[in-house]
């Protein structure tokens, strides 16, 4: 692929988004059909490209002024000013479609201010709705269009004052968190005194009060963990809920203890603990951090997961698998947060997609969460099988336990396996391997995964949370199976 250098930022001449990709990201068939009607120059003005992956144009819709549409060929990101509740809307799809077909000429030009503004917002993390990422980044920020941060001149005195204010605020928050942790411990002790057999039945009511207390104590990460606890328990079979409550409350105490003793922890575990409690690291600081773990390679999308959080944000997780076996994490997860109302409902990546990129990992004893620092090859639909390591389920479980020993409050852990099969006991499905390892599948997958029962063996990828396995991706004799 040809490339050119412009100053500090390396720019690739991007391949257009493929029609398959457009089809995959379309919210429904009606949107595709509606977009098809717009794939013609009439009705459009100023269709242009900057030659570096940005395309834009204005489309005359039913409103008085034309809709401004911009899309990124790098990651199929998009923005349109139309009021449609579908994401992407027909205008965004049509713009990508015209580019993909190549029948309509895109004028080469510099991006106008409204396009630059959109790009800046993606870069700075102001995001779709201007909401902060509750876990440290920014809404809609895994946009892959990374660029050097804008350096602004500041008055040294003002900067010193701001730094002092930040330090004061940090100290106050530390104190508040420690107070909150003491309350948390007391609350857990009360639950133990009362007995945890009935905890799951009243978890909603019991957790709400302490979660609120932790919000007040500015330990938002812990608050969110406790807020989600009832749902996690209810997702389990009834007989497993009591022991799960012991595990979950035990982890909360472990986190509280680790936070109190963070001075003696390794730097990675220290970062893990603070992040779990609620401290955040901005996207910019991670991208500019010299010591941050950066891994380049060819990545394949193995799963996309959409979860709704209690704070009315949607968490879109994109799990990536690195194809080469060079040193460094093999799996990464990109996390985007979008508003529940008015945001896309799924990742713009599709399982199987392939992209070349450099990823920067948040510091952790077991690094998983990452940001895209640079895209070298835009994501494209790829039908080729993943080269998964020849690893049995039992070896994957050993790895999980190793990770659990390093990060005791670990939640979903990626598991790749070869030669496993799906088996059924009553209504329940189990991933099983000949070496005796077995993982129960989530009940929500019992329908979608049932056709895999017909297969003798398959390779795959999934997420294990210690209770239930969520099968995300399977490579089989019948082709690729992907979780809905």
């Amino acid at each position: 692929m040809p490339r050119r250098r412009t100053g500090r930022v390396r720019i690739w001449l991007m391949a257009p988004i493929s029609l398959e990709k457009i089809e995959a990201i379309a919210p429904d068939q009606a949107s595709l059909v509606a977009a098809r009607k717009l794939v013609k120059p009439s009705g459009w003005s100023g269709i242009s490209s900057n030659g570096a992956g940005l395309i834009w144009g204005e489309c005359q819709g039913s409103g008085s002024s034309p809709y401004r549409v911009v899309a990124s060929e790098v990651d199929a990101g998009y923005k349109c000013t139309c009021p449609s509740r579908k994401f992407p809307c027909k205008h965004s799809l049509a713009l990508m479609w015209m580019r993909s077909e190549g029948k309509i000429a895109f004028a080469a030009g510099q991006a106008p201010e409204w396009v630059q503004e959109w790009t800046r917002r993606r870069r700075t993390g102001a995001g779709v709705a201007g909401k902060d990422d509750p876990e440290g980044g920014a809404v809609g920020k895994n946009a892959a269009v990374a660029a050097a941060p804008v350096v602004e001149e500041m008055d040294p005195k003002a900067e010193a004052r701001a730094a002092a204010a930040r330090e004061r605020s940090r100290r106050e928050r530390e104190e508040a968190i420690l107070g909150g942790l003491d309350d948390l411990d007391q609350w857990i002790a009360d639950q133990i005194d009362n007995g945890l057999a009935g905890f799951a039945a009243n978890a909603g009511k019991l957790c709400r009060a302490i979660a609120q207390r932790l919000v007040d104590a500015k330990a938002s990460g812990l608050a969110s963990r406790i807020d989600g606890l009832p749902a996690r328990l209810y997702a389990l079979p009834e007989q497993a809920r009591s022991t799960a409550a012991i595990e979950q409350l035990g982890q909360l105490h472990l986190l509280a203890e680790a936070y109190r003793r963070q001075g003696i922890l390794s730097s990675e575990l220290h970062a893990d603990v603070r992040r779990e409690v609620g401290w955040t690291q901005s996207r910019e600081s991670l991208l500019t951090e010299e010591n941050a773990l950066a891994v380049s390679g060819s990545w394949r999308v193995t799963a996309t997961v959409s979860e709704v959080q209690p704070d009315r944000l949607r968490r879109l997780k994109t799990w990536l698998w690195r194809e080469d076996v060079a040193k460094g994490p093999q799996v990464a997860v990109l996390i985007d947060f979008v508003p529940l109302a008015g945001g896309p409902t799924r990742s713009s990546y599709q399982p199987g997609d392939k992209l070349g990129a450099t990823l920067v990992f948040y510091p952790s004893a077991r690094p998983l969460r990452a940001l895209i620092k640079e895209v070298t090859t835009p994501a494209q639909v790829c039908g080729v099988d993943l080269r998964l390591p020849d690893k049995t389920l039992i070896a994957a479980m050993d790895e999980y336990e190793d990770a659990l020993a390093a990060v005791p409050w670990l939640s979903a852990w990626p598991i790749t396996f070869c030669g496993a099969s799906l088996r059924r006991n009553g209504e329940n499905l189990f991933l099983s391997s000949s070496d005796g390892a077995v993982l129960p599948l989530a009940a929500s997958q019992s329908g979608a995964a049932a056709p895999l029962l017909a297969l003798e063996r398959f390779d795959g990828f999934g997420l294990w949370d210690g209770y239930l396995f969520r099968l995300c991706f399977a490579q089989t004799a019948l082709g690729r199976w992907v979780a809905e």
Partner: protein, 472 residues
């Protein structure tokens, strides 16, 4: 304390509550204050549990997925088909199922959960894997079988869906009526009412004196539909209208008279009961004449042949409609044609009557029926969708090209395409389902100006059908 002890000694206390001091000895050994020790014990027990690997179930169910000879449909069509089936009409789904059956293709097994409703409804057309999928939730005691229609034989015929079994039996009756009867006799007592009604209808083909004993045995069947059919067959065998109560009931409603100056001709008129309202007439007639044959009726009316019935009923649309249904049932397409000349809306009335059991055997028979009864230049339904949908159910495929060409050129249809009177997506879809391959481009050009919400599913169906037909 090790992990095993934590699980056996500590976990039960954590469950029941530590207030009673059951753990105090263990807590003292951990040092520090009680609450803190309690929390540490909780964390330790929790981690011990987290490192416990899931246990193997005592046993796994044995999966017996059938071997499916049919090839899986092309990969490129998987996504379009799934999108097509999202909120499409039943006609579109049926057209797709019929196309897959004709090409002997099957859905990809991984798509079965995503098209579950479609598979359950049309399993008998989609191959044995689909049949297995559709039946996997039935109780283990319920009879199951996964046989493609073409693979059925005298050993396996009981294990297919009732529709396929009835077809198998009809085919066998054509070849060897006696063997077919013996086959049915063996399983008759194990059949449910719906199956009995579908299977006994096969006796229409090749009815002979050899069937009499069996029919006598089952003439008191509990299912009224079966009972009526058996009586009709017995009456036909005896040659006496008196033996067929249905015929007697019909004759009570038929008024016969003579008309004409030079040559007196018999005139027939069907008197509907006063309680039957206009909109109920078609259904009443359908039910009334369901178990009467043309020959019986002609005989009862003292006419030489069925054509005489048509001539006599020429001025009575209701009786002509009854004759049209009887002619359809008996595959008297030449007679049906003369009836349709008199009442071109006969098929519309049939759809009004909810008559679903036309028992037309194969596509050639259905094409002949359509050509005989459809008169697009003279009549098409003005309340269109349900009648077209009924027509597609009877046709189980596209209309003959010449008939569809007339339909597409008809005023009723072209008026639908006008600006102020655009057809809904349901009508578009059923037209696409009824359209033969030769006319798809013509229909596409007619549908193209419609908005996407009206034409998208129809156009998708046409595209998919085209692609399926190109599949080797």
């Amino acid at each position: 304390m090790n992990a095993a002890e934590l699980k056996t000694r500590v976990v039960p206390v954590l469950m029941s509550g530590a207030r009673r001091g059951l753990l105090d000895t263990e807590l003292e050994s951990l040092g520090g204050d009680r609450d803190h020790a309690l929390l540490n014990v909780l964390s330790l027990a929790g981690q011990a549990l987290r490192f416990t690997r899931p246990a193997q179930p005592a046993e796994y169910a044995v999966e017996t997925w059938p071997h499916d000879e049919r090839p899986i449909l092309p990969q490129t069509l998987r996504a379009p088909i799934l999108r097509l089936l999202e909120r499409c009409t039943e006609d579109t789904a049926r057209a797709l199922a019929l196309a897959l059956e004709t090409r002997r293709l099957r859905p990809h097994p991984f798509d079965l959960p995503r098209m579950d409703g479609f598979v359950k409804k049309h399993a008998d057309r989609l191959g044995v894997t689909a049949q297995y999928w559709a039946q996997r939730e039935t109780s283990p005691q319920a009879p199951r079988g996964y046989f493609d229609a073409v693979d059925l034989n005298a050993e396996t015929w009981t294990e297919a869906a009732p529709r396929i079994r009835a077809k198998f039996l009809r085919e066998m009756r054509k070849r060897d009526a006696e063997s077919a009867r013996l086959l049915l006799e063996k399983t008759w007592n194990a059949e449910d009412a719906d199956s009995r009604a579908q299977l006994i209808a096969a006796f229409q083909t090749g009815l002979s004196a050899g069937d009499k004993d069996f029919l006598e045995k089952i003439r008191k069947d509990r299912a009224p539909r079966v009972k009526a059919a058996v009586q009709r067959f017995l009456a036909a065998l005896s040659g006496s209208a008196a033996d067929n109560p249905a015929l007697a009931a019909c004759m009570e409603r038929i008024e016969r008279s003579k008309s004409g100056l030079l040559k007196k001709r018999q005139t027939l008129k069907l008197e509907l009961p006063a309680t039957v309202k206009d909109h109920e007439a078609a259904r009443w007639i359908q039910e009334q004449f369901a178990d009467v044959t043309l020959a019986e009726l002609a005989c009862a009316c003292e006419l030489n042949d069925s054509q005489g019935l048509v001539d006599g009923a020429r001025k009575d649309d209701n009786l002509l409609f009854a004759l049209a249904m009887m002619a359809t049932r008996e595959r008297r397409f030449e007679l049906l044609e003369t009836i349709a000349d008199e009442i071109p809306d006969a098929w519309g009335k049939m759809s009004d009557s909810n008559w679903e059991d036309s028992s037309l055997d194969d596509s050639a028979e259905r094409a002949r029926w359509a050509q005989a009864i459809l008169r697009p230049k003279e009549w098409l339904p003005s309340q269109p969708f349900p009648a077209w949908s009924w027509l597609h159910r009877q046709m189980e495929g596209p209309l003959p090209t010449n008939v569809m060409r007339e339909v597409l050129a008809s005023k009723v249809w072209t008026a639908q395409l006008e600006e102020e009177n655009k057809p809904g997506t349901e009508l578009v879809q059923v037209f696409c389902a009824l359209c033969p391959p030769e006319l798809r481009n013509h229909l596409r050009s007619q549908l193209e100006p419609l908005t996407a919400d009206r034409n998208d599913k129809g156009l998708m169906l046409l595209e998919i059908l085209d692609s399926l037909e190109k599949t080797a």
